[in-house]
């Protein structure tokens, strides 16, 4: 997802004043060995938490993914290879011939943190509540037409149309299974009117009701999230007795907490900081991630000086120095990305990587009669995400486009302002980011294709501008629904090529992720499901 309820403040200048004050305040407690240091079974994680909710059906953020896979279990999970699905609450599952019916058999051993067994009614309640709350992640289960519970340990989910990625969707953190009795008792509702009737969010901010390795001990917004090991955990107990996620807004502050021992793991250190601040006792690794940053062009934006025709969009794409962008944003700790689908996802093998060709770009602009140049607004959220500073990235793009006489008027804005503008008047050129919610390319086709209903079709002004609709993408998305699993990658590949041809989304950077942790911590890895699987962490 790209959605961040509150802009992670790492890069925003306004927050830096606060950060400076906080850094001064931090200096004092860090001088003393903190309680966390003394206890070997407590792991402290420094992170800029972007939590919008702790309610599994309302949450929608990167930190939510971590929490929802620690305190809750899903029916299935993405395995350690970050691709294949492995059993979790569902010990086994079957898909009907027509792809419309999924039968899950629950693990008989599975229990919630209060000791009660995980039953079919809990699955039904959780998935229906997610759907009916109509929140950020509800689209994952939109295709469900009904859920049947023939017995306490069997769930049959019926879909209204085949969806080859349905299992992927329920494996996402938002497919968390809640204890239906407990949540109902505290105002929870899964009925069709749940979006107005449900009152459980407040209670879920103070308690968890899952079967995961940890339970929520306390949550103080903008301060810390404290998890304790689940005493009734039904799988192998986690090593850590307590995990504390502590709010720390920028890479430098996180690195300093790591060096002083105030934190065991820092989650948002950028490659430059990691390189220069290397310290004894601290391990930093660069690992490939599925995150990416892109710029997007909106032909339907208000106030365009020159129409963003296909040729103008192609010229803009050709004017960008892609290798240079990687170098300037991450010092080279990143990969190129061809289409708005992460490298390594189905259908991305051998996609043609973008290349700079200034001569051709100039010729295209000349053909369109705008070779003399024009200027264009480029508004983007001012933030530092996955180690990339958007202001740095956009200044590089600005510089590249001057070579074809296009002048960018850079406007860094807050995330909230950006969201309003991109949805309202639309922004001629913008920059933003995306991280997967599960392993599968369908989420990208749904998000970035120029088809009615996709968020970027709306943001690019598909309703206002002529010729943005891509009927081939529509056909392909329809085809993949009923295609055999082995045919899907070829179809996704074609969808990716269509998205490249649309020239609305120009992917730029697939940054490597920095894992920074103290040497005595083990089990730190990047997981597609959940960023950081907390149950695998240990400390000696």
């Amino acid at each position: 997802m790209e959605t961040s309820n509150r802009a992670p403040a790492t890069g925003t200048r306004r927050s830096r004043l606060l950060a400076a004050v906080a850094a001064t305040a931090l200096a004092a407690p860090l001088a003393l060995p903190s309680a966390a240091q003394a206890q070997d079974d407590t792991i402290v994680i420094a992170r800029d938490m972007d939590l919008n909710s702790l309610d599994p059906s309302r949450a929608w953020c990167d930190t939510c993914q971590i929490y929802l896979t620690a305190a809750y279990d899903q029916l299935v999970r993405v395995g350690p290879d970050n691709k294949s699905l492995v059993p979790r609450l569902a010990a086994s599952w079957e898909v009907s011939e027509d792809g419309l019916s999924y039968t899950f058999r629950l693990d008989p051993a599975a229990t919630f943190s209060d000791g009660s067994p995980v039953e079919a009614k809990d699955v039904k309640f959780s998935l229906e509540r997610l759907k009916n709350l109509k929140a950020g992640a509800s689209f994952m289960v939109e295709g469900i037409s009904s859920i049947e519970t023939p017995d306490a340990k069997t769930v049959v989910v019926k879909l209204s149309a085949p969806d080859p990625e349905f299992l992927g969707k329920v494996s996402s953190p938002y497919g968390a299974i809640m204890n239906a009795d407990v949540v109902s008792e505290h105002g929870g509702s899964a009925a069709a009117d749940a979006d107005s009737a449900d009152q459980a969010e407040g209670w879920l901010l103070e308690n968890s009701a899952g079967s995961g390795a940890f339970v929520l001990e306390s949550y103080r917004p903008d301060d810390e999230l404290r998890l304790a090991a689940n005493p009734n955990y039904w799988r192998e107990a986690p090593d850590a007795a307590t995990i504390v996620m502590r709010e720390s807004q920028d890479a430098v502050a996180q690195m300093q907490m790591l060096q002083s021992g105030g934190a065991d793991i820092a989650m948002q250190v950028d490659p430059d900081t990691a390189e220069i601040a290397a310290a004894q006792g601290v391990t930093t690794e660069l690992v490939p991630s599925y995150n990416f940053l892109y710029v997007a062009l909106s032909p339907g934006a208000a106030g365009l000086e020159v129409p963003l025709s296909p040729k103008v969009r192609e010229a803009i794409g050709l004017a960008i120095d892609y290798e240079g962008v990687l170098e300037f944003t991450t010092g080279g700790a990143a990969d190129l990305i061809a289409a708005p689908v992460p490298n390594g996802f189905p259908g991305t093998d051998d996609l043609p990587m973008p290349k700079q060709d200034v001569e051709k770009a100039r010729a295209l602009l000349e053909e369109e009669g705008v070779g003399g140049g024009f200027s264009m607004v480029a508004a983007y959220p001012e933030m530092n995400i996955y180690g990339v500073d958007l202001t740095t990235m956009m200044q590089k793009i600005q510089q590249d486009l001057t070579k074809v006489n296009i002048e960018l008027d850079l406007q860094p804005v807050t995330f909230a302002v950006w969201r309003d503008r991109v949805g309202g008047e639309h922004i001629p050129m913008t920059a933003v980011f995306f991280a997967p919610d599960y392993y599968g390319s369908g989420q990208y086709a749904n998000y970035f294709s120029m088809v009615p209903g996709s968020p970027w079709y709306a943001r690019a002004g598909g309703e206002e501008a002529e010729g943005l609709l891509n009927t081939r993408s529509q056909e392909l998305m329809e085809q993949v629904r009923t295609a055999a699993p082995e045919e899907a990658p070829a179809l996704y590949r074609e969808m990716a090529l269509e998205m490249i041809r649309d020239r609305v989304i120009i992917p730029l950077v697939n940054p490597k992720l920095v894992l920074a942790y103290r040497d005595n911590v083990e089990g730190v890895r990047y997981a597609v499901c959940c960023n950081l699987p907390l149950e695998e962490l240990s400390k000696n």
């Binding site: 890069g11 925003t12 200048r13 306004r14 830096r16 004043l17 400076a20 920028d250 430098v252 430059d272 900081t273 220069i276 601040a277 240079g324 170098e327 300037f328 010092g331 001012e382 530092n384 500073d389 202001t391 740095t392 956009m394 200044q395 590089k396 600005q398 510089q399 008027d409 850079l410 406007q411 860094p412």
Partner: protein, 280 residues
């Protein structure tokens, strides 16, 4: 009596009072000349990116390079093109607006005078940085808007100062004589009163140049002033804060702000000593 040994600092014939003034003038002269002519200096263009990003200071890049490989020294010197004119513009505009309103308020009094002074009170009740932030945020980012915001914050100081001066001067005998001789109110104000009120405004204005440079940089630092890629000092320090361990990125503009503010303060102090009859 044996004189205690004293460290002697060469003063080049300048007394302890005038040395800082001379230093200040030198510094200001340097930055004013830089602001006017830096385009023609043999420097890297301030917006040119090179592959050598985040380089520490070296013979080639005296103050290193930033995250986009731009020469920090070049950008710092180019920063004068923004900070110095803005400081002049804001101080002159605030002094003119404030003095005029203050003078009218002091000379005529009445409802107009009271209204102006209450507006002054209201404006001064806000912490300057907060008011400037609020005005700049509502106008949108950009140096022009930041300048407007600073004028809004600054004029009341001059209004209050000028009003106090006018209240005192208008009671003097020569003013009464002018009125008795038939001078109209505006002639009296502009010819007989105002020329005697300028001194404190001048001194204050000189001191304020430095403060305006500082406030402009603060607004840019929090993202309400210069927009990228403008090499404005506050914006550059903000870039530097993002790459905290690469200290040189913030060092250049930080040093520039420090030197400029100090220079204006020295000159302002000297000017006050020179013009204010109450000091020795």
């Amino acid at each position: 009596m044996i004189a205690s040994p004293r460290l002697r600092i060469p003063t080049f014939g300048l007394s302890g009072g005038t040395l800082p003034v001379a230093l200040g003038l030198l510094v200001i002269a340097f930055w004013v000349i830089a602001a006017a002519t830096v385009q023609f200096w043999p420097l890297d263009p301030p917006l040119d990116m090179v592959a050598r990003r985040l380089q520490p200071p070296s013979a080639e890049h005296w103050l290193g390079t930033d995250a986009l490989g731009r020469d920090v020294l070049s950008r710092t010197l180019h920063g004068a093109r923004f900070s110095i004119p803005i400081a002049v513009l804001v101080v002159v505009a605030a002094a003119l607006i404030g003095s005029l309103l203050g003078a009218l308020s002091g000379f005529f009094g009445g409802i107009l005078g009271a209204a102006v002074m209450r507006l002054v009170d209201v404006t001064l009740a806000f912490p300057p940085i907060l008011l400037a932030m609020a005005v700049a945020a509502s106008l949108g980012p950009g140096l022009e808007n930041a300048a407007i915001a600073m004028v809004v914050v600054w004029w009341p100081l001059y209004a209050r100062l000028m009003r106090a001066q006018v209240l005192e001067v208008r009671e003097r005998e020569h003013v009464e004589a002018a009125v008795a001789a038939g001078a109209g109110p505006f002639r009296t104000l502009f010819v007989h009163v105002l020329p005697l009120c300028w001194t404190p405004v001048m001194v204050n204005a000189t001191m304020d140049f430095g403060q305006v440079v500082l406030l402009a940089a603060s607004l840019s630092f929090i993202g309400l002033g210069a927009t990228p890629p403008t090499p404005e000092w506050g914006a550059m320090i903000s870039d530097g804060a993002r790459s905290f361990y690469h200290w040189w990125i913030a060092f250049g503009p930080g040093l520039a702000i420090f030197v400029v503010v100090l220079g204006f303060n020295f000159v302002g102090d000297g000017l006050r000593d020179l013009l204010d009859p109450r000091t020795d």
